[in-house]
């Protein structure tokens, strides 16, 4: 069973379209994240939810809107896609307050290409 799963894995779409990426974790974690990895492999946090509450909201265009219906799911909706949005988007999860530290587990990634 995949611990953090996201769909779709590959997405090719035209500029101006709206698209969503879904993420689910079965680790029982209370915190979920969206990270973006650009073509130079730079990994940067976008959003984080703890028990469905938004706790990290980096400087991201408001065309990006996360939604957490419950603590096992975190979706990312992107409006009016632009060429610069092309990247790999990783969902991740962790358990806050763990004695062994806030280990973050990543999903397999969603490769978004905007043409």
């Amino acid at each position: 069973d995949t611990a953090v799963s996201q769909t779709p894995k590959y997405l090719v779409t035209q500029m101006g379209n709206d698209k969503s990426i879904k993420c689910e974790q079965n680790l029982g974690h209370d915190t979920m994240y969206w990270y973006k990895q650009d073509s130079k492999k730079f990994l940067k946090i976008m959003f984080s939810y703890n028990n469905k509450e938004l706790i990290i909201n980096e400087t991201v265009p408001n065309r990006f809107s996360p939604k957490s219906p419950d603590k096992a799911h975190l979706n990312l909706h992107i409006n009016s896609l632009e060429l610069g949005d092309s990247a790999v988007y990783f969902c991740a999860s962790s358990q806050f307050g763990s004695r062994s530290g806030n280990t973050i587990y990543f999903g397999e990634g969603s490769w978004l290409t905007v043409v």
Binding site: T31, K41, L43, K44, I45, G101, T103, E108, G109
Partner: protein, 112 residues
Amino acid sequence: QQPVQSPQAVILREGEDAVINCSSSKALYSVHWYRQKHGEAPVFLMILLKGGEQKGHEKISASFNEKKQQSSLYLTASQLSYSGTYFCGTEVRGSTLGRLYFGRGTQLTVWP
């Protein structure tokens, strides 16, 4: 806030050793190390929580010097499977827990 990793790239023969360094300008709560193979997700290697802590994972180990705000990842007797990009992620003291700032990565290539 982003840590600095060095070197940017390392090329090794099987069986050789390597050290990857991660340095922050901020006081750190923890340092995380990940390995990412091409086209795959970053995979967790280890987390270091306390200054001076050292951890091991097979022939991969790491240390954390809290005073110097630095961590080093040691790969000994490297294997072909060690190839990939290694990232350190830092949790900065006073910042939201879970907010990891990642370095630019170190590309490690192991040749037979």
